[in-house]
């Protein structure tokens, strides 16, 4: 493969600048929505387009008392974060915890560049600037994790829906977001109906529009108004922690 710089993923581009060996690596993959992309132990993935979602490993089905909560809701897989063209899936490989962290699933149709984990870690570790960037990515990931814990506890389905729609729109340009209600429901860990209700409210307020299975952000300001502060907080965090090194 000719050494090329990947301009479609900002993070990979920066890493390739610091670690020239990375320019000669990587397998491009085009995957459909729902494609399972591994446990984050044998490869790292850089999305070029589309969204990947991260699913915690080893979720054990509940074996306890029946508390009357909807069984479907309790045991279906839940995603905890998204990765787009400014990020990387497979931080578990960098941290050496292999498959203990999360598995990776395509939330929408996506194209990614796949790099073998061991080689990636080895090449990046040799360059101080590469290590520094990865450390910042880890720090940002921790900050996101903390925020997600709080967001899930305190913010409403509508607020959280707006947050993720804004996040996704930031990374999709003007293109409609190929994010289904089912996908959103998984991301928020709620029943699909709850997303449906939030979506109706947002449509009524003309903040979003649907075209086939894609959500179009019609009124960004309105979404901002209805979103929880987590959107801004993490945007600011990315800006302070990762962006300066990109």
């Amino acid at each position: 493969m000719d050494p090329i710089l990947c301009r479609d993923n900002r993070l990979l581009l920066a890493l390739q600048h610091h670690c020239p060996a990375l320019r000669r690596m990587g397998t491009p993959l085009a995957v459909p929505a729902g494609a399972e992309l591994g446990r984050g132990d044998d490869a790292v993935l850089f999305p070029l387009s589309g969204l990947l979602s991260l699913r915690p490993s080893w979720s054990m089905p509940h074996a306890g008392a029946d508390t009357g909560v909807d069984e479907q809701r309790r045991n279906h897989p839940v995603d905890v974060d998204l990765v787009a063209n400014d990020g990387m899936a497979g931080i578990g490989a960098w941290l050496g915890v292999g498959s203990a962290l999360e598995s990776i699933v395509a939330l929408t149709p996506a194209s990614v560049l796949r790099l073998p984990a061991t080689t990636f870690v080895d090449r990046v570790t040799r360059h101080r600037a590469g290590r520094r960037l990865m450390e910042r990515l880890v720090a940002y990931r921790l900050r996101c994790s903390y925020q997600n814990v709080v967001c899930a506890a305190r913010h409403s389905v509508e607020q959280r829906t707006c947050r993720w729609l804004l996040w996704t729109a930031d990374r999709s340009g003007d293109a409609p977001i190929a994010l289904t209600q089912a996908g959103l429901a998984r991301l928020l860990g709620v029943r699909r109906q709850s997303i449906g209700e939030a979506a109706i409210a947002l449509q009524r307020a003309a903040s979003i529009r649907y075209t086939r299975q894609r959500i179009v952000v019609a009124d960004r300001k309105a979404l901002l108004h209805r979103s929880c502060g987590c959107y801004h907080t993490l945007r600011e965090a990315f800006h302070q922690i990762v962006e300066p090194l990109l």
Binding site: P56, V97, R136, C151, C230, T233
Partner: protein
């Protein structure tokens, strides 16, 4: 766990499992130990302020929190002698990633960030251990986010009580219902209802500020799977490296 911590301290251990593993690689780290005993409620460091130290609780318990846009601080996770707080300095960050508040009285061993980084530099094993600890923290966060979104308050209370009791190694958790409501991000009234139910079923007994776990089996049944899952994650990700 508390008895073991005491025994380890007497045998030359630090009282913190993670720190003990670091000491095995770099015994010189001990020179930089500064044991402190902040009062309950004291803020060890704040989100966004300059990152200066790394901290290893021994018998203290520390709460990690983030500031919300609304201005409130919200609890994210709790760390005792199984972990550390303030990893920001090791990640080369100028500023803290979170706020840390003393939740339970006791000792925290703190080390100046620059000293820590200098002493541990070059140790592959320490890098591996700290990376694994971060991996564990991320996994813990993911699980807790899912828990907060999907599980009932009762399940979350049971999970929390079990973890808190595990750290102390006994059957008591000294925590008021108001504090528990704060930590879980739910209304005090809801905690009250759950506590009443658990007490009625003789799973716990509570008196002002003290909760006694009467029936561990029942608690484990009524807790969400997060309790077992995270114990398993700790066992697989960290135990092998702690020695």
């Amino acid at each position: 766990m508390e008895e073991r911590a005491t025994a380890r301290r007497e045998a030359g251990g630090s009282g913190n499992r993670l720190l003990d593993a670091l000491l095995r690689e770099r015994p010189g780290l001990r020179t930089y130990f500064e044991p402190v005993q902040p009062p309950v409620g004291h803020e060890l460091y704040a989100d966004g302020r300059p990152a200066t130290h790394i901290y290893f609780p021994t018998d203290a318990i520390v709460s990690i929190m983030v500031r919300l846009a609304s201005g409130n601080a919200s609890d994210v996770l709790t760390v005792g002698n199984e972990g550390l707080i303030g990893i920001a300095v090791w990640l080369g960050m100028d500023r803290n990633l979170e706020t840390a508040v003393q939740q339970r009285a006791g000792t925290v061993v703190r080390i100046v960030g620059d000293d820590f980084c200098r002493v541990v530099a070059g140790s592959r094993r320490i890098r591996e251990l700290l990376h694994h600890y971060i991996g564990y923290t991320l996994r813990f966060g993911s699980q807790t986010a899912v828990c907060n979104a999907c599980h009932t308050v009762e399940e979350r209370v049971c999970r929390w009580l079990l973890s808190a009791a595990d750290r102390r190694g006994g059957r008591h958790v000294d925590m008021s219902q108001a504090a528990l409501a704060d930590v879980l991000g739910v209304r005090r009234q809801t905690i009250g209802e759950v506590a009443l139910r658990l007490q009625r079923d003789r799973v716990i007994d509570y008196r002002r500020g003290d909760i006694e776990l009467l029936d561990r089996t029942a608690l484990e049944t009524r807790a969400c799977e997060c309790y077992r899952t995270l114990r398993e994650v700790y066992r697989r990700v960290l135990e092998p490296l702690l020695g």
